[in-house]
Amino acid sequence: MKKVKVLILRTAGTNCDWETQSAFELCGAAVERVHINTLIEKKDKIFEYDILAFPGGFSYGDDIASGKILSNEIKSKLGDKVRKYALDGKPIIGICNGFQVLVKMGLLPDVKLFKQVSTLSYNDSNKFECRWVYLKTEKKIGNESCCIWAKNLPDVISLPVAHGEGKFIPNNEKLLDNLNKNNQIVFRYSSKEGNEPEYPLAPNGSAEQIAGICNIKGNILGLMPHPERYIFGLQHPAKKSFNGKYGWGKVIFQNAVDFVGR
C-alpha cells in the first residue's frame, strides 16, 4: 500500500515539528517537515501531500500576536492553494500555535468564508502555563464526533496544554451558536468526570470551555492541547495508557492517516 504523505509546515520559531513527525510516523505515514520558503518557491508542492499539519511553537516569536505573522504570510502567499486543499476535504490539523494560525487566517471555523471571525487570546491567568488537562470529546452523531480527527475516542481524555494565548473568543454570540449547532466544537476542557471544570483544569477561560474546533465538513481540526505529546503511555504523568502502550493522542493522528488510506 502507498504510504500516506504528511506535510508539516515549519518556519522560524516552529518547535513542535519533530514530535508531530514522530506521531504521524508511528501511525504509518511518511512525513516531511517543509520550510515555508520552500513551499512559497514551489506552491503546487502542497498537493503532493495527503495531510497538512501546522505544528506548535512560536512562529516569528509570536510578535504582534500569536500566529499572526505566519497566518498573514500563508494567506497572502499561499492562500488560494491552502483554501483549495481544505475544500478538497483533505485532513488539516493545527496544534497550539498551528490552531492560532488557522483561526487568524480564517481557515477555521469556515473555509468558504476564509476570514478571521474568532481569536485565541491571553489566558485568564495572564501567563504561559504547561499542564495536563481533561478534554471532553463532543459526540453528536451516532455517538461519534463529526470531526474525522476525533473518532474512536472515549468521552473524556487527557492531554497536555502549554500556551499563553489559548482563550478562544468568537466574534459574536451567533457564531458560538452556529459552532454548537453545526457540531463544530470537538473538544472542551472538563473535569475528570466530563463536567464543567474550574481553574486550573479550565486553563485559559475559553468561551464554553472550547479547546478545539473543526470546520463543518470535519476535515480541519484546530486545538490548543498537544496530542503529539501523548502518543505513548510513558508520556502521561501517571503513565496511563491504552493497549498497554499508547496514549490517546495517537488515536487522533491515526484517524487522519486511516481516513486517507481508506
Partner: protein, 813 residues
C-alpha cells in the same frame, strides 16, 4: 603600522605601575598589574604600542571568565583542623582535584571531557549526550530578564558549539535569590528587590527557553539573604550528538563564517565585567540583548549543514564575542579577520567594539572553501545571515584588518599562553560542629514545624515557576518536574528523564538530569557542602531509576572574591571534596565552570555571597520503562526508609526555622550510600519499587508528606521504627538517642523513602539484606498523614490537603 581614525594607539610602553593599573581599571580590562606588565613587555619586544583592538583582545582572552586563572593558577593553601596546620601548593587546582579524578577513573563511556564547550558521554552505539551548565550572575543582577534570557541562550549555544553541534533536548535552571519578603528599605542602593529579580529571571528563562522549543525540566532555587545583591543564575542545556560529529579540527585555509545574529554594541566587556565587583554604578550596557527566534533559526539550519558535512569546526560566540570564538578556533593555526565585513546592527561601531561585542545568537564556523556557496545557501534558505569574515592561516598570528588597515597583529601563542600564572593564598580553618541540645517537642509543636517546613522558601512548591516553562515540548519529558497520580495534584519530582525517541528511532534509552546544591551547609563546612551536593545529585537521579554506573557530573563554583584567602580556602576545600567523593562513588566529572568575584560593594565595604557549589548530574538510563515517580501508588503498600538517620541538623531547614545554631552538618558516607544506590537500581529493574523519593531538605517528615499529598493518600508512619546511627566528629563517635523531631527533620544524606507492594516484600528484603533499611509504615486508605512514636507519646496527624496547601501557598502569585 598605521592606524585609521577609528582605531586608537594605547600608550603602554612608558607607563609606570600605577598608570598600568589605572589603564586596566579605566578600560574595564580587569587585568592585574602583573598581567599588564606582561602586556607591556610583549609590546616592548615588538617596539611599538598596542592598538585599542589589541589591548581589548588580550583582556578578553585573559579574563577570568574565559581563562579560569584562579582555578588553574598557583594556590598556596593552608588548612587548619583542630589546631593542626597542613600546607600544600597547587599548581593547577582543577587539574589536581576534579579533573584528576576523571583521569584516574578513566571511563570508556566518557567521550569528550573538559576540553570542548560541554562534556560528552556515550548514549548508545551511535550517539553521545552533551551537558553543560553556565552561570549568568552579574547580568541577571543588573537586568534580570535580559540577563537570564541570554544566560539560557548562551548555554544553548555551548551545546550547538560542542563538537560539530549537538541538538538540544532539555534545559535546567538553578537560582539563588535573596528572601523576597525583605522590606524595600533594607535593599542596598543600586540593587533590585529580590522579588523583581526573581520574576524577571523566571520570565527571561521562560521566554527564551519556550521559544527555543527546549523543555526546561530540572532545577532548584535556594533563598538566602546573602544573595540579595548578587543573585546566582545557573542555566544548563543537554543535547544529543552523533558520535562521528564529536571531533572538530580547523585547517589552514578554512574560511571563517559568522552565522546568525548581527553585531551591535550590546554586551561590550561582558567577559571582563564578570570579574568586577558590582556596585551602584555598574553599567547595564554590559548586558546582552537576546532574540530566541534568531537562535532557533540557527539551530534548525546548522544541524542541516552539519549532516551535510559542510564545515570542519564550530564554536559559539559567548563571552569575549568574536575575539574569543575566532581566537579559540584559530589558536593552533592563526587567523585573518576583516572586521568591516562583520554584519552590524547599526553603524558607528569602532573596530574594537565589533571584535569584542557579545551580541547574541552568533556562531563561528570553519568552512573548507569548496563548501562556501553550499553552506551559505543552507543558511540563507531559511533567512539566516551567514557571512565570510576571514580565514584561518598557518602563520600562528592573529591579524585583524579594518578598511584595509591592519589594526591587530599579535602572536596566537602570546594570546593563549602568555598570561602569567597568578599566585594566590588560600586558608581554610575548620569550624567546630557541636551537636545541638536535644530537641524536645510535643505533638502539636512538631505538627506546626512540619507545616512551616513545607511552606519554607527552600522547600515549598515551585509550581508557579515550573508551569511557566514548557517542560514538555519535544514530547520527550517522561519523568516530569512535577509528579502526581492524577493530573489535579502534584509533588516535587527528584529528577527528570528525557526519552529521545524523536531523534533516536526505536530507542529504549533515556537521559536523567538532576542536581544538588546546599549553600547552607557551606556556611559551616564547605567540604561537607560539596560532598552533600554530589551525593544529593546522585540520590535524585537514583530515585527515578538511574544506574549510578552510568552517571556523570558537572561542577559549577560560584564564589566570592578569590583574592580573600579565606574565601579561596573554602573553595580549595570544596574542590578536594569533589575529588574524594568522585573517586569514592566511581563517578567522573565531565565539565564544569566557575564564577568568582560574586561580591557587591556598599560604601566601600564588600559583601561576598555564601559560596555555592552546584553539582549537576546527567546519566543514561538503559530502559525508560523502568523509571519511577515519587507519589505513593496503592493503599496497603509498605513504606521503607533506606539508609541511616543520624543526628545531623547542622545547616538544616529545621535548624533555621527553630533558630538552632549548633548541630552537625550532614556528612557523606560513600560506601554505605553507594551500596544503597546500587541496590535501588537492582530493585527498580526487577519492578519491586512502586514509588521512591529522596530525603533532603526537611528530612523524612517532608519526604513522606510530599509522597502522600502528591498521591492524595494517607500514610501511617512509626517514628520508632526508623533506624538511627551515631555521627562521627573527628575520630570520635557521638552516640546519642534521637528525639522524634530530630528523627523526622534530620537531613542526613544517603536516604530514600520507598513504597513496596506486600507481595514483593520478601524479594525486596533479600536485595537489601546487609544494608540499613527499615519498614516504617504503610499507605492508608484514609486521607490522614500520621507520624507516631509510642515510645515518646508523640502523634502527628494531618489531612494531606492541609499539608499540600502549606506547601503550595508560599510562591503563588
Amino acid at each position: 603600522m598605521k592606524y585609521t581614525a577609528d582605531c586608537k594607539v594605547i600608550e603602554v610602553l612608558n607607563l609606570s605601575d600605577e598608570q598600568l593599573i589605572e589603564l586596566s581599571k579605566k578600560n574595564v580590562l580587569s587585568l592585574s598589574l602583573e598581567e599588564m606588565k606582561a602586556v607591556q613587555s610583549y609590546f616592548k619586544k615588538l617596539k611599538r604600542n598596542p592598538s585599542d583592538v589589541e589591548i581589548e583582545t588580550i583582556a578578553q582572552t585573559w579574563s577570568e571568565h574565559c581563562k579560569h586563572k584562579t582555578l588553574t593558577g598557583i594556590i598556596e593553601y593552608t588548612e587548619e583542623r583542630e589546631g593542626e596546620k597542613t600546607k600544600k601548593t597547587y599548581n593547577n587546582l582543577l587539574k589536581e582535584t576534579i579533573f584528576k579524578a576523571t583521569v584516574e577513573l578513566n571511563k570508556k563511556w566518557c567521550l569528550s571531557v573538559f576540553k570542548d564547550n560541554a562534556g560528552i558521554i556515550e548514549f548508545d552505539l551511535e550517539n553521545g549526550v552533551a551537558f553543560k551548565v553556565e552561570t549568568h550572575n552579574h547580568p541577571s543582577a543588573l537586568e534580570p530578564y535580559g540577563g537570564s534570557a541570554t544566560g539560557i541562550g548562551g548555554v544553548i549555544r555551548d551545546i550547538l558549539g560542542v563538537g560539530l553541534g549537538a541538538k538540544p533536548l532539555a534545559n535546567t535552571d538553578v537560582f539563588c535569590f535573596g528572601d523576597f519578603g525583605i522590606e524595600a528599605s533594607k535593599i542596598p542602593e543600586g540593587v533590585h528587590h529580590p522579588k523583581r529579580i526573581m520574576k524577571g529571571v523566571v520570565s527571561g528563562v521562560r521566554d527564551y527557553g519556550n521559544r527555543m522549543g527546549i523543555p526546561t525540566v530540572n532545577g532548584a532555587i535556594c533563598f538566602d539573604d546573602g544573595y540579595t545583591a548578587n543573585p546566582l543564575v545557573y542555566c544548563g542545556t543537554m543535547g544529543i550528538i552523533p558520535k562521528d560529529k564529536i571531533y572538530k579540527e580547523v585547517k589552514p585555509g578554512d574560511l571563517i563564517l559568522v552565522v546568525g545574529g548581527k553585531t551591535g554594541r550590546d554586551g561590550i566587556h561582558g567577559a571582563t565585567f564578570s570579574s568586577v565587583e558590582l556596585d551602584k554604578e555598574s553599567d547595564v550596557s554590559a548586558v546582552q540583548i537576546g532574540n530566541p527566534i534568531i537562535e532557533k533559526k540557527v539551530l534548525d539550519t546548522m544541524i542541516k549543514a552539519r549532516d551535510l558535512n559542510l564545515y570542519r569546526a564550530v564554536t559559539d560566540c559567548g563571552a569575549g564575542g568574536l575575539s574569543s570564538a575566532v581566537g579559540e578556533l584559530g589558536s593552533k593555526t592563526g587567523a585573518v579577520v576583516y572586521l568591516d565585513k562583520v554584519p552590524l546592527k547599526y553603524d558607528g561601531l569602532r573596530p574594537w567594539e565589533i571584535w569584542i561585542s557579545e551580541a547574541q545568537e552568533r556562531m563561528v564556523f570553519a568552512v573548507p572553501p569548496e563548501h562556501k556557496e553550499e553552506i551559505i545557501e543552507v543558511f540563507e534558505k531559511e533567512n539566516v545571515e551567514a557571512v565570510c569574515i576571514g580565514e584561518f592561516t598557518n602563520e600562528g598570528k592573529l591579524t585583524l584588518l579594518y578598511n584595509g588597515e591592519v589594526v591587530t597583529s599579535v602572536d596566537m601563542e602570546f594570546l593563549h599562553e602568555g598570561v602569567p600564572k597568578p599566585v594566590k593564598r588560600a586558608v581554610y580553618k575548620m569550624k567546630e560542629e557541636k551537636i545541638q541540645e536535644p530537641v524536645k517537642m510535643n505533638s502539636s509543636e512538631i505538627s506546626i514545624s512540619l507545616k512551616a517546613l513545607l511552606a519554607d522558601l527552600n522547600v515549598c512548591s515551585r509550581e508557579w515557576i515550573v508551569r511557566q516553562y514548557d517542560h514538555e515540548v519535544q514530547g520527550q519529558t517522561i519523568i516530569k518536574p512535577l509528579q502526581g497520580n492524577n493530573i489535579e495534584i502534584s509533588g516535587p519530582g527528584d529528577a527528570a528523564v528525557i526519552f529521545p525517541y524523536t531523534v533516536v528511532k526505536d530507542t529504549k534509552r533515556g537521559i536523567v538530569l538532576s542536581n544538588g546544591l546546599n549553600p547552607q551547609y557551606g556556611k559551616i563546612n564547605p567540604y561537607k557542602m560539596a560532598a552533600s551536593a554530589i551525593e544529593e545529585a546522585l540520590r535524585n537521579a537514583v530515585a527515578v531509576g538511574a544506574d549510578i554506573r552510568r552517571i556523570s557530573l558537572l561542577d559549577n563554583f560560584c564564589w566570592g572574591n578569590p583574592n580573600d584567602p579565606e574565601i579561596l580556602g573554602s573553595l580549595v576545600c570544596a574542590a578536594k571534596a569533589c575529588y574524594k567523593i568522585s573517586k569514592a562513588f566511581d563517578i567522573p566529572f565531565i565539565s564544569g565552570k566557575d564564577s568568582l568575584h560574586n561580591e557587591y560593594s556598599i560604601d566601600g565595604k564588600k559583601y561576598s555571597i555564601p559560596s555555592a557549589l552546584l553539582i549537576s548530574a546527567m546519566g543514561v538510563i538503559e530502559n525508560v520503562e523502568n523509571t519511577i515517580t515519587m507519589p505513593l501508588k496503592n493503599d496497603g503498600n509498605k513504606i521503607f526508609v533506606l539508609g541511616l538517620t543520624r543526628n545531623e541538623l547542622g545547616g538544616s531547614v529545621f535548624a533555621k526555622i527553630k533558630n538552632i545554631c549548633s548541630g552537625i552538618v550532614p556528612d557523606v558516607y560513600p560506601k554505605e550510600s553507594k551500596n544503597v544506590m546500587e541496590k535501588i537500581y537492582q530493585a527498580v529493574s526487577e519492578n519491586l519499587i512502586e514509588s521512591c523519593h529522596d530525603c533532603s531538605e526537611g528530612g523524612i517528615a517532608v519526604a513522606v508528606s510530599e509522597m502522600a499529598f502528591s498521591a492524595g493518600k494517607g500514610v501511617k508512619i512509626d517514628i520508632d521504627a526508623v533506624k538511627t546511627s551515631y555521627v562521627l566528629k573527628g575520630k570520635e563517635e557521638i552516640r546519642e538517642e534521637m528525639t522524634p523531631a530530630e528523627i523526622l527533620f534530620s537531613e542526613s544524606n544517603g536516604r530514600f523513602v520507598v513504597e513496596v507492594k506486600s507481595d514483593n516484600e520478601e524479594k525486596f528484603g533479600k536485595i537489601f539484606k546487609g544494608t540499613a533499611f527499615s519498614e516504617i509504615g504503610c499507605v492508608s486508605n484514609d486521607k490522614e498523614v500520621i507520624f507516631e512514636s509510642k515510645k515518646n507519646k508523640v502523634k502527628i496527624q494531618e489531612d494531606f490537603k492541609v499539608l499540600l496547601n502549606s506547601w503550595r501557598s508560599t510562591i503563588n502569585w
